[in-house]
């Protein structure tokens, strides 16, 4: 923090801004400054949620849709961790590996998840594999890059210290490099989590039976603003709460950074 604390309670500005946004929305929609066809009002939103709970929408009820999406996101995110982090460590530790992998990585990296869908369908069919692949692709890149940066930023003094105390390469890796890179790895994981959620919509374009992405796309095709907003709110809240959980995991995994 740069500025000195003021006497304003911590929660106040956030509450005020959220409240004023909601207030603005309620006013704008109830007095129809913005038509219901363009921005759903509170009532539309409530009805959409009701419909989503019972009888359901786009092939399933809210719990089904959420459960399906969360599973996909977690699977894609997990695969991104187990591939991106080790590869990032490898590239960070070995110039040779970096030079070898970089060209392919550079070309593939800017390709949008959406563009992978046809290939994903081809390689993994219409099952969850293709969806997980699309999510993985979005999450893999930040996981790898941040791990790489983290490894590269480990204080060489600490590596030297480990070596003069008799550390073998695997000691250096597991006792120095990995813990040293851990804070940045977690930064990467946060970004990867966000990427997983944002890739979800694209992933569920691959013939999903359930899922919030499917709800969103169906609602878009049905021109159903209330439902679109409902799905967006669900995705946003789920994403934010999973990030919160990740923060707890980070605190657990890096106890030395807690005060």
């Amino acid at each position: 923090m740069l500025r000195q604390e003021t006497r304003v309670p911590v929660w106040l500005p956030g509450t005020l801004s959220v409240a004023s946004c909601i207030g603005l929305w309620v006013v704008a929609t109830t007095f129809e400054f913005v038509g219901p066809a363009r921005l759903p009002g509170p009532k539309d939103l409530w009805e959409s949620f009701e419909q989503l709970m019972d009888p359901g929408y786009a092939g399933g009820t809210l719990p089904q849709q959420v459960w399906f999406s969360v599973r996909l996101v977690l699977a894609g995110f997990a695969v991104a961790i187990v591939t991106g982090v080790p590869l990032g460590i490898l590239m960070g530790m070995s110039r040779r590996a970096e030079a070898l992998i970089n060209p392919a990585f550079l070309v593939i990296r800017p390709i949008p998840p959406l563009a992978w869908i046809p290939l994903a369908i081809l390689w993994f069919g219409l099952g969850n594999g293709a969806k997980i692949f699309v999510i993985w692709f979005g999450a893999f890149v930040p996981a790898l890059i941040n791990t790489y940066t983290g490894v590269r930023s480990v204080d060489p003094g600490l590596i030297a210290a480990a070596r003069v105390h008799g550390a073998r390469p695997w000691h250096v890796l597991f006792e120095v490099v990995v813990p040293g890179a851990l804070p940045l790895i977690f930064t990467g994981l946060r970004l990867a989590l966000q990427a997983s959620w944002t890739a979800l919509v694209a992933a569920e374009l691959v013939g999903a039976f359930y899922g919030l992405g499917r709800v969103l796309m169906t609602a878009a095709r049905d021109i159903y603003p209330g439902m679109i907003a409902a799905a967006m709110i669900c995705v946003a809240l789920l994403g934010a709460s999973m990030t919160y959980l990740l923060g707890l995991a980070e605190a657990k995994a890096t106890p030395w950074r807690n005060r």
């Binding site: 923090m1 740069l2 500025r3 604390e5 911590v10 500005p13 956030g14 005020l16 801004s17 959220v18 363009r38 921005l39 590239m91 110039r95 040779r96 970096e98 030079a99 070898l100 992998i101 970089n102 060209p103 392919a104 990585f105 550079l106 070309v107 593939i108 990296r109 800017p110 390709i111 949008p112 998840p113 959406l114 563009a115 046809p118 290939l119 081809l122 390689w123 890059i145 790489y148 940066t149 590269r152 966000q194 959620w197 944002t198 890739a199 919509v201 694209a202 609602a219 878009a220 021109i223 603003p225 679109i228 799905a231 995705v235 946003a236 809240l237 789920l238 994403g239 934010a240 990030t243």
Partner: protein
Amino acid sequence: MALATQHPGLRWLPYSLAGAAIFLAVWSLLPQAGIVPSALLPSPMAVGKTFFELTQEPFAGYTIQQHLLSSFIRFASGFGLAAAIGVPLGLLMGWYRWLDRAVAPIFETIRFIAPIAWLPFAVLWFGTGIGGPILIIFSGAFPACLINAYRGARLTQGFLIEAAETLGAKPRHIITEVVMPSALPSIVAGLRIGAGVGWQSLIGAELIVVSSGVGYLMVQGQGNLATEKVMAGMVAIGCVGVLIDVALRAAERHFRRFEQA
């Protein structure tokens, strides 16, 4: 974002070349060995040839350069807006605690909404205007611009700020002459990530109004199962993405010349 920043030097060039060769070889072998039908994964040669043809002959109304140009204009507007709002807002949030607390709860939830998820509202709000694509690209690029400017501002060395204060600096001096230059590396990193994501959101943006753009080219190519056209589009997107990144890195080097020995 250091991967491409590194100058591995000539020493590592052979490895990079080998890496590129392996990549191309695997790509060519997959369709040739029949592991993947070439209708769905054309060889690099076929893609290259198609790419070249697309530069000569219009497809879906325009040549690929023209598609790229109209995509780029959309991208530049959306990304420009994201940078113009995100960077100053991020810096101010880093400086003013109350602003941070006011914006954070909204921002921290909204950023999980995928750029293409905004597509329905983009159409409802802006119709066929350029506003739609801008909204989508903006929503892709904005979080990175904001977060990095914010992080950079927050990591400004406290003693530099205090030094400025004791030299008579007002808040505006501190923000423009201390916090911003100090956050610059982080800001540029954010711009690079933001540009990447914004550019990736392009296809989504071009699902709205069909008339031009690489995204449109790809959608049309996909509709005809002309996979080599889709992949030529991907290559074009990839190349422009890399070029944007290179340009931003050059800008970064320019602004950080004070660090070079």
